[in-house]
């Protein structure tokens, strides 16, 4: 896993455009803050500042994390990587975890832009809750990205799907607009999207009121992350077994 971490850091040095979300995240902060300020007297600045964090994290984890396998394929190292005696999933997860941790930098950046450049009245009221939620969210993002990686091994054009699932997940996860505003029939679906638990908790960590059931809600993020991780590891094992036996690894 450590080898994966080092490899990903080298990759970042070679391709600085990988840090693209660090450029777009402040712009999203501007967009959302402008909308809520234009919308009326209700102060929804914390909503506007939280949403870009998820957008940036999603990009880092899903696009770069998910692309870990695809870049291996493009550089024709996928076969060598799979043939190596080390665990394929461990190296991939190490790379993805690095990507996700780098993605957490966006939180600091968005916070600085929102709070000090755009003068948004947001303050961290529950710092421990915020930290715990961010860590749990990063783990859940990495687990979801690992799942995407499995799909990348299986299907060459899976990249198109990565492009497609962002906004459906943002809506279902209530990263800006709480799930309570979605139609009733969609709300149960949101409960199995870890973003909905994360977004509620991050917003709560900026609110003055105490946060009920915080441990349970963080536990739900971790539970969903663990479920994703288990499915992803199983899928990777199964997919690799299949393509090894059919000899189709480089052809898919």
């Amino acid at each position: 896993m450590w080898a994966g971490v080092r490899l990903q850091l080298v990759f970042y040095r070679q391709y600085p455009d990988s840090f693209l979300p660090l450029l777009t995240a402040p712009l999203y902060t501007v967009i959302f803050l402008m909308i809520v300020r234009h919308g009326g007297p209700a102060d929804l600045s914390s909503y506007a500042v939280i949403a870009p964090v998820f957008i940036a994290l999603w990009w880092f984890a899903l696009f770069h994390g998910g692309l870990v396998v695809q870049t291996d394929r493009w550089s024709q190292t996928l076969e060598l990587h799979v043939a190596a005696p080390t665990s394929f999933a461990a190296v991939v997860f190490g790379r993805i975890l690095t990507v996700t941790l780098v993605g957490l930098v966006s939180f600091v950046e968005i916070w600085l832009v929102g709070r000090y450049l755009l003068d948004a009245p947001v303050k961290v009221r529950h710092p421990w809750l915020l930290t715990a939620t961010l860590v749990a969210t990063a783990f859940a993002m990495a687990a979801t990205a690992l799942l995407m990686s499995g799909l990348f091994v299986l299907a060459r054009n899976a990249f198109a799907w990565t492009n497609s699932i962002s906004f459906p997940c943002y809506v279902l996860g209530g990263i800006l607009v709480p799930v309570a505003l979605l139609p009733g029939w969609l709300q149960p679906v949101s409960k199995v999207v870890f973003l909905s638990w994360s977004a509620d908790l991050l917003r709560a960590s900026l609110a003055v009121e105490s946060v009920p059931d915080a441990a349970f809600r963080i536990g739900m993020i971790l539970l969903l992350a663990a479920a994703s991780f288990a499915v992803a590891a199983g899928l990777l094992r199964r997919v690799l077994w299949r393509v090894r036996h059919s000899g189709e690894l480089g052809l898919r």
């Binding site: 234009h38 550089s75 809506v171």
Partner: protein, 277 residues
């Protein structure tokens, strides 16, 4: 070969490339679901603010934005050709690279139009947006105009960035979010500081979006002037691209210039069309 024939074949080859990525099923269940969700995501902010007018404003702005967004992908055209090893062949062909590039990615305008209208006419009724018949039909050519104008802008930038391989993806993604920020997609132009509002007059999407909002509001007198401005904004980059290529045609350059440093397979990374959100 006549220019029209080149354009036809270029369009068909580009569309065939796209059809290799999506079938109509995967397009509906993948890309269309994404763009519809994107429009719903922004419209829901209006609902959060309990402001129906703002909900509609956000819905229309973000639906039309899709036409511009897909057209700006044209900026990646040179990278795509380079990655598939066809850039040198196109550069070496006797036809004008402007004609080839302008037509090869023009399927993006069609795709953007379908995405945009598909999102508007599905999300609109969900949020009770009035779609007055028959003047709503004017939205179709106006959205096409927005897509074409943004496409011209995208191909112009693609020409400028032909030697800056690593910048394409960056410029596409930042460009899309800048358009979302500045072109009146989420806020009326009057709400911007005056210097910002002035700059937006020279960007694609701004005037086309005003024209579409005017159609919906029933202010038909404003439609034609705004459509004219949108077309002018789109034509400007096209003229610049044509002149630039006429001055320094691609086939005259050394192959290393066209292909750029770092071949696919050697550096193991190729530009991809991804949107940061």
């Amino acid at each position: 070969m006549s220019a029209l024939r080149i354009m036809r074949y270029s369009f068909l080859s580009g569309a065939t490339d796209y059809l290799a990525i999506y079938t109509w099923r995967s397009w509906l269940g993948g890309w269309y679901l994404r763009v519809l969700s994107q429009v719903i995501f922004f419209a829901l902010i209006g609902k959060l603010l309990r402001a129906e007018e703002q909900t509609w404003f956000l819905l229309v702005g973000n639906a039309v934005m899709l036409a511009a967004m897909e057209s700006i992908f044209a900026l990646n055209l040179v990278s795509w050709e380079r990655d598939s090893g066809t850039l040198q062949l196109l550069a070496a062909s006797p036809s004008s690279p402007v004609v080839v590039f302008a037509s090869r990615g023009s399927y993006l305008i069609v795709d953007g139009l379908v995405s945009s209208l598909g999102a508007l006419f599905v999300a609109g009724p969900l949020f009770h947006l009035p779609l007055p018949w028959p003047r709503i039909l004017l939205v179709v050519p106006l959205t096409l105009l927005v897509g074409a104008s943004a496409y011209c802008f995208g191909t112009f930038l693609a020409g400028l960035l032909i030697r800056s391989r690593g910048l394409n993806n960056l410029v596409v993604n930042v460009g899309i979010v800048v358009f979302m920020t500045l072109c009146g997609v989420n806020l009326p132009l009057a709400a911007y500081p005056r210097p910002v509002a002035f700059v937006t007059q020279f960007l694609p999407l701004t005037h086309g979006l005003v024209a579409i909002r005017s159609v919906l509001a029933g202010d038909l007198g404003a439609v034609l002037p705004q459509a004219g401005l949108e077309a002018t904004v789109g034509l400007g980059p096209t003229v610049c691209s044509t002149r630039r290529c006429a001055r320094a045609p691609l086939p005259g350059r050394p192959p290393s210039d066209v292909d750029g440093p770092g071949q696919i397979g050697a550096d193991g990374y190729r530009s991809v069309t991804a949107v940061t959100a």
